[in-house]
């Protein structure tokens, strides 16, 4: 195995790290203690929760304003691990940079609990939301292992047994294998007291299936598991996101590029007329605040749908190359580093996630199990399919928002009913828009701190 851990820090501020960090730890501990003193209501809407956006689409896009974010520790000692999951696997030349699975671990000094965090659809181990969760859990005293989503191209190429994600039970198997490899790699380097598990979005749903798997294999015996903004039914959620793009592009889906061009030009006009210094997060807030009228919901929905489509394009392309399925890349075609991929990308912008599930994944799943039906695949990719486990497993909880856009009507109530006291529902925040809000961060910390 070539994956020698590389010590990195999240920024270069090594020298001032220790002092500031000890303050942070103290504050985190005080916060933890004060939270332990008050019991947590199922509805987390108390005075501390001041997430500003009532529109779930705005919340999903803009996220938490800087002033309301949980404080960030600037210098978490992070080891990046490069893992060889299948030593026999020969990754196609095109993916020469994806032959190993890249993940990270933030290490505490001395013995500490360890939490695995699974990223959401299309996201890497070091995406913004993953860094926010790493920040929260590190401050709460955990070793934090961050794992890319099984839908991320790097995971598909290096760690997916089938070479195509979407059957959550299979994805859970892949994740479980990765978690074992991580622990093998870290053996002797860190001391772990107990194991915990979480994930957001699709990663949240996958966490529940990984937990179920662990009941059988008992390698980790997770003390607690939390699903953050999970989908209840994968098909329902991806269909909502597919339609956000397809239903909202003016003139139809074939005009997506024109629509994006207009948005970029509008940005450019605002940017060049205003007194903006940098093109960054603050810039987006300033634009939003300065708009003469609130942005139209169909435009916001289109942006979310577009971002999702870009993620799913990456996923489908990687799966197609890995399985040689002939979906958009002709069967037997061996692409290499010098080949233009633009046409594949453009083609994939027209292909929905649901189409992938029906026309790519289902035939692939049938190859190994001819009896499997579409309905069985749809049903299997839902929390309903493991609801008896979720109902009785006291260690599993859910944290989501009443206005999460990936949930269909009734699904929030379903989660409340299924989890009862183990459900934390914030009144607004959209899909993961509030994941780094200080009240949510405190709630996450509190959930895992409770016995």
């Amino acid at each position: 195995m070539t994956g020698r851990p590389v010590v990195e820090t999240t920024s270069g501020r090594r020298k001032i790290y220790r002092k500031r960090f000890s303050h942070m730890k103290l504050i985190a501990k005080l916060l933890l203690m004060s939270l332990l003193l008050c019991s947590m209501p199922v509805f987390a809407a108390d005075g501390d929760y001041d997430f500003p956006y009532a529109d779930p689409l705005v919340a999903t896009i803009l996220g938490t304003p800087t002033a309301q974010k949980a404080p960030m520790v600037t210098d978490i000692p992070v080891k990046v691990l490069d893992l060889t999951i299948f030593p026999e696997r020969k990754v196609p030349d095109l993916f020469w940079y994806n032959d190993q699975l890249r993940c990270s671990v933030a290490v505490q000094r001395g013995k500490a609990p360890l939490i695995f965090v699974i990223a959401g659809t299309g996201a890497g181990f070091n995406s913004d939301k993953m860094l926010a969760l790493q920040n929260t859990f590190y401050q709460a005293g955990f070793h934090v292992v961050s794992i890319s989503s099984p839908t991320h191209a790097n995971f598909i190429a290096s760690a997916s047994e089938l070479g195509a994600p979407g059957v959550i039970r299979d994805d859970a198997n892949d994740l479980y294998r990765v978690m074992q490899k991580v622990m093998e790699q870290l053996k002797g380097d860190i001391e772990v007291s107990d194991y915990y598990l979480t994930g957001y979005s699709l990663g949240g749903s996958q966490a529940a299936f990984v937990s179920l798997l662990d009941e059988e294999w008992k390698l980790f015996n997770f003390k607690k598991v939390l699903m953050i903004n999970p989908s209840v039914n994968l098909y329902t959620s991806v269909n909502i996101l597919d339609l956000m793009l397809e239903d909202n592009v003016p003139g139809g889906i074939e005009k997506t590029e024109e629509a994006l061009r207009r948005i970029l030009d509008k940005f450019a006009a605002i940017y060049s007329s205003g007194d903006f210094v940098k093109f960054d997060h603050e810039f987006l807030y300033n634009i939003y605040r300065g708009l003469p009228e609130p942005p139209k919901d169909e435009n916001l929905a289109m942006l979310i749908g577009l971002s999702f489509r870009i993620s799913s394009s990456n996923m489908i392309f990687a799966s197609d190359v890995m399985t040689n399925a002939g979906f958009v890349v002709p069967k037997g075609m061996e692409l290499d580093n010098s080949d233009s991929l633009s046409d594949y990308q453009r083609t994939l912008m027209r292909i929905s996630f649901v189409k992938y599930l029906d026309e790519f994944l289902l035939p692939l799943a049938r190859a190994s199990n001819p009896q499997i039906t579409r309905q069985a695949l749809v049903d299997g990719d839902s929390l309903e399919s493991i609801e008896s486990y979720l109902q009785r497993a006291e260690k599993i909880g859910v944290l989501t928002n009443a206005d999460d856009i990936i949930l269909a009507p009734g699904e929030v109530d379903y989660l409340k009913q299924l989890f009862g006291r183990r459900a934390t529902i914030f009144p607004n925040g959209g899909h993961c828009g509030n994941i780094d809000h200080r009240a949510v961060a405190a709630s996450l910390t509190n959930y895992f701190a409770r016995p």
């Binding site: 890249r102 061009r261 392309f317 979906f327 080949d339």
Partner: protein
Amino acid sequence: MKRMHFLWLLAGLALLTGCAATVPAERAKYTLSDFEQPGATRPLAVFDPFETVNRGLYRFNYNFDRFVFLPIVNTYEFILPNYVEDRVSNFMDNIGEFYNFTNGALQLKQKSAGITLSRFLVNSTVGIAGLWDPATRWGLQRQDEDFGQTLGHYGVGNGPYLVLPIFGPSNLRDTTGLVGDTLAFNAVDPLNFDHNEDWELPYQGVKAVDTRHRQPFRYFKSGSPFEYELVRLLYTEKRKLQIAR
């Protein structure tokens, strides 16, 4: 002589990367022609006639980064305290005001050129030879300008997209701009290298390391199969924004 080396490098890379993919056995289930007429408008397309060479250079840059550039940058970051690194960055930025000023002036942006001049004066004196940047705290924001932007300001188009060795994403206009800025700097010679030849090489070295030190981008870090396309689009849009200001 230097330029000759560069051309040989390009030619070599083109040869190395020029092998085509194997011929497909059958048609894919979905192809672009299922969704698009040939010749359909592509408002986000970037003109990239040298894509094969560019992709080769993109990979070359990854390797150069990994085996040469980043190890040097990491050593630099390991040895120097962050405080000193920041002073170096400020110093380089202050000298870089040369480009901001000349190009602000060439674009007849009086306010921008005025701010740049004030920044230079303040930072060179109060900021002690540019090691500190009090000007920004006083509300004089840095005005990033370069000759590529000047050309764009006067209507010169992008030209073909280029991935330059070591420098990374560019296009014909911005590469011309880079050359123009360098020639102007050498002609004016604000640091008087003509009489301090021994200092030129260390200066260029530190400048390169400082630039990479401040650039968080890492090749292939996104893991996306379409990273090349994404970087190409983002670079082009970013330059468009800068020029429009």
